[in-house]
Amino acid sequence: MQATIESQQDGHAVVRLAGRLDFLSSGEARQRFVEAVASGQRALVVDLGEVLFIDSSGLGALIGGLKAARQAGGDLRIARAGEQARSVLSLTSLDRVFRMYDTVDDALAAF
């Protein structure tokens, strides 16, 4: 999995993930979210467009990031979730929690 963080103004940031977000990489992903929040980027948009596969540990990382962002007064939004990601989100009822944005810009605009 690769993760790149693109900082924007006012504490906004886009986290672009690529590859597999699974039990092997979820710890690292979570760490990146937490670090971003700690460095003042409280409004995170996670771009899942290049993520090939996401498992429950990967979902756990997203929730961990959401918690960190919320506790700092920000939020973590999901954009460009693919078919596989949408299906695991709905399988785990997480679609009741997350709003899935079609584009990164939509997600940013919603803050």
């Binding site: 092997l24 429950s56 756990g60 961990g64 919320r70 785990t92 009822s93």
Partner: protein, 699 residues
């Protein structure tokens, strides 16, 4: 699992590794299953025949309290027979396990909490010696430097709670495992209690079951190496870690029992994520549902000056709540609904913050010649211009409204971060002190499969004194009843009908304490006072009852063939005060939020101390003995006109006494003078039971 004839032949060569009962060849196993099924049919039909007659024609209304109590008790027992029969209907010995792929990654978690270092060391060494490649971690909730040093010296990993946990509920062992899950990344994990010393083959013999991608966990038996001959405390549970689990396995309802089990990380994590999503939904809805009352009460409690200050904020909050409920009803995601709600609550609170800060600044300005005050005044002015600082001061816990505790709780609850928990996801369930059962039920409800592999692959330590043994049993029983009340399997969505009944059967068996009282008291009441619960001990009564009892006992004998089950049978009656206490305390805990409580007794082993633990049993035994003597005396003196009834009740009382006698043996039991093992077991189990260590219930 189906096997080719070749595999079957190989497996027969290995069958001596398996436990008795599973060693027969395929034809033998099939014959045994059909014999069990035949006995099930016979026993339930005879039971129904007896019970229908009891209801229709036998109730002695002259003594209706005991008559109805006995009828209720017999109904309970019949339902118990039916549930047991259902369990055994698909009795499924699995035989030889499939071999692992070879590239699985496995983390071994040894959970500990202040157990003696040397005891854990033995487990760690055995874990490191497991042949299949793996990583070994000591999960130390005791945070002891000695334990850390031991783990390092042995070459095992060492994990303690992360900082997130400070100030939050630790959730005992469930929390310990959950904490470690987020610091490791094996595809599978083997959980071992600190005293459960694994055999080198434990992974080779179990990982193969995970070829089926739907299998979430493989449970193996818990067996205790320090139990003396005769098992005075009834520690071993061979019937449970044998036919009963094998029967549940046949229905895809094998239980996870906390230790000696291998779990698939993905299954646990999924269960945790689902638990988070559903729990969150419930939490937010409940908070919104009661918010009207919370805010009204908050409003009423305000003094007139406070009211002037807060009322606009409360009004705005009320409106925000109405909108949030509407949005939720319209199916908007929680993230969005709670985000908007939090922003509005913050905006509403900001007015108060600004007002307060401005007032302070003005007061400072009125104080002449106060230099530090000037600096403060400047800082307050800056603060009033700082958007982010103002938001932070108005947000949730720092909101001025948060001074009202209930409003603060409301603000915290209508969010998605589960600020009340250390970590938002709890893969191992935390709703009960028996986290294992709740977790298994959650996994089954999500469609995962389970396996019970009947081979002893780890050996542990059982309590060596009555106090600890009772404490452990009480915890299991309390936990089971907690799960029944908090997450009733009969109502839980996602479970198959028989899976519901398999969980319910175990919960049902823990309600036996109340029934035992009836069975113990009934003969005493008859022998002393002539209270006869049935119209007559007629030939019809015996013709219906005796075949039922015989068939029932035969079924039990065939199911438990080759397994010592007698001690377990005794204890299911003899521990009646404990079962009652477990039920009542669990109800008080779940319904009235009371603490669960412990068996409080002196820790030193004294001759008299043990007997203090079993006072209710001693009282009942004294009453039974007196009743037997009184009955026999009346027979001998020819004072009785109903000789048959007296004989029956004397026999009944004697049976009760034989069952209860197990507890006397336990109270009198003196362990061999302080063996090293015993000291270790003592320390381990006292620490562990109080921390929520688990295993199976007793049946």
């Amino acid at each position: 699992m189906t096997m080719t004839p070749d595999q079957r032949r190989i497996s027969l060569a290995h069958r001596d590794r398996l436990l008795p009962g599973d060693r027969a060849d395929e034809a033998g196993l099939r014959a045994r299953l059909w014999l069990i099924r035949l006995l099930i049919v016979v026993a339930t039909l005879l039971g129904a025949n007896y019970l229908v007659w009891r209801y229709a024609a036998s109730i002695n209304w002259a003594f209706w309290p005991i008559a109805l109590a006995l009828l209720a008790a017999e109904t309970y027992s019949f339902i118990d027979t039916c549930l047991f029969s259902l369990t055994m209907w698909r009795y499924r010995p699995r035989g030889e396990p499939p071999a692992p792929r070879g590239d699985e990654t496995v983390d071994i978690f040894i959970t500990c909490y202040n157990e003696p270092i040397e005891l854990v060391r033995e487990t760690v060494r055995a874990a490191l010696a497991i042949t299949f490649p793996h990583r070994t971690y000591v999960l130390d909730d005791g945070r002891s430097p000695e334990m850390r040093a031991m783990a390092m010296a042995e070459g095992a990993g060492y994990i303690v709670r992360t900082e997130e946990w400070s100030g939050h509920d630790y959730h005992a062992k469930a929390g310990n495992v959950n904490n470690a899950l987020f610091q490791t990344d094996g595809e599978f994990l083997l959980i071992l209690d600190a005293d459960q010393v694994p055999k080198p083959a434990i992974l080779d013999r179990t990982l193969g079951y995970f070829h089926d991608p739907r299998v979430a966990f493989v449970q193996t038996p818990q067996w205790f190496k320090n139990v003396p001959p005769g098992d005075p405390f009834g520690s071993q549970a061979p019937l449970f870690y044998g036919p009963i689990q094998q029967g549940k396995d046949g229905w895809n309802a094998a239980f996870f029992c906390g230790s000696n089990a291998i779990l698939r990380r993905e299954a646990l994590m999924q269960s945790g994520v689902v638990g988070y999503a559903r729990g969150l939904d419930r939490r937010v809805r409940r908070a919104l549902a009661i918010s009207g009352r919370v805010l009204r009460q908050a409003d009423q409690r305000l003094s007139p000056t406070q009211r002037a200050r807060f009322q606009p904020t409360i009004r705005e909050l009320q409106q925000a709540i109405r909108d949030a409920r509407e949005d939720l009803g319209a199916g908007q995601p929680l993230q969005e609904v709670t985000w908007r709600f939090q922003r509005r609550a913050e905006q509403a609170a900001r007015a108060v913050v600004v007002q307060d800060l401005a007032a302070i600044r003005d007061e400072l300005a009125d104080l002449p010649g106060l230099d530090p005050g000037m600096a403060l005044e400047q800082r307050l002015s800056d603060l009033l211009d700082d958007e982010f600082a103002l938001s932070a001061l108005a947000r949730r816990e720092s909101s001025p409204l948060a001074a009202i505790e209930t409003v603060r709780a409301l603000l915290m609850a209508v969010d998605v971060d589960r600020a009340d928990e250390a970590i938002p996801i709890m893969p191992v369930a935390t709703i009960s002190v028996t986290e294992d059962m709740a977790t298994a039920m959650q996994l089954h409800s999500l469609g995962w499969r389970s396996v019970f592999h009947h081979e002893i692959l780890a050996e542990g330590l059982a309590p060596e004194d009555l106090r600890t043994a009772l404490q452990q049993r009480l915890r299991w029983a309390q936990g089971t009843v907690q799960v029944m009340l908090r997450d009733n399997p009969l109502l839980k969505r996602g479970l198959a009908p028989v899976q519901r009944l398999m969980y319910f059967a175990t919960m049902w068996s823990y309600l036996s304490g109340f029934v035992a009282v009836v069975y113990l008291v009934a003969p005493v009441l008859y022998l002393f006072f002539g209270w006869l619960p049935v119209k007559a001990y007629s030939s019809e009564f015996f013709l219906r009852l005796v075949p039922y009892l015989v068939a029932n006992q035969l079924l039990f004998i065939v199911v438990g063939w080759g397994i010592p089950t007698w001690r377990g049978q005794q204890y299911s009656l003899a521990l009646f005060p404990l079962w009652i206490r477990a039920t009542t305390s669990a109800v008080a805990n779940v319904v009235f939020k009371r603490k669960l409580g412990f068996v409080v007794t002196p820790k030193t082993r004294q001759a008299g101390a043990s007997f203090r633990l079993i006072v209710p049993q001693l009282v009942v035994m004294a009453a039974l003995v007196a009743a037997v003597i009184y009955g026999l005396a009346r027979l001998a003196l020819g004072l009785a006109n109903d000789r048959l009834s007296i004989t029956v009740n004397v026999a009944w009382a004697l049976y009760d006494l034989v069952m209860l006698s197990a507890i006397i043996g336990a109270a009198l039991y003196e362990p061999p003078a302080s063996s090293e093992l015993e000291l270790l077991a003592d320390g381990a189990l006292t620490a562990a039971t109080e921390h929520g260590r688990h295993g199976a219930g007793l049946r």
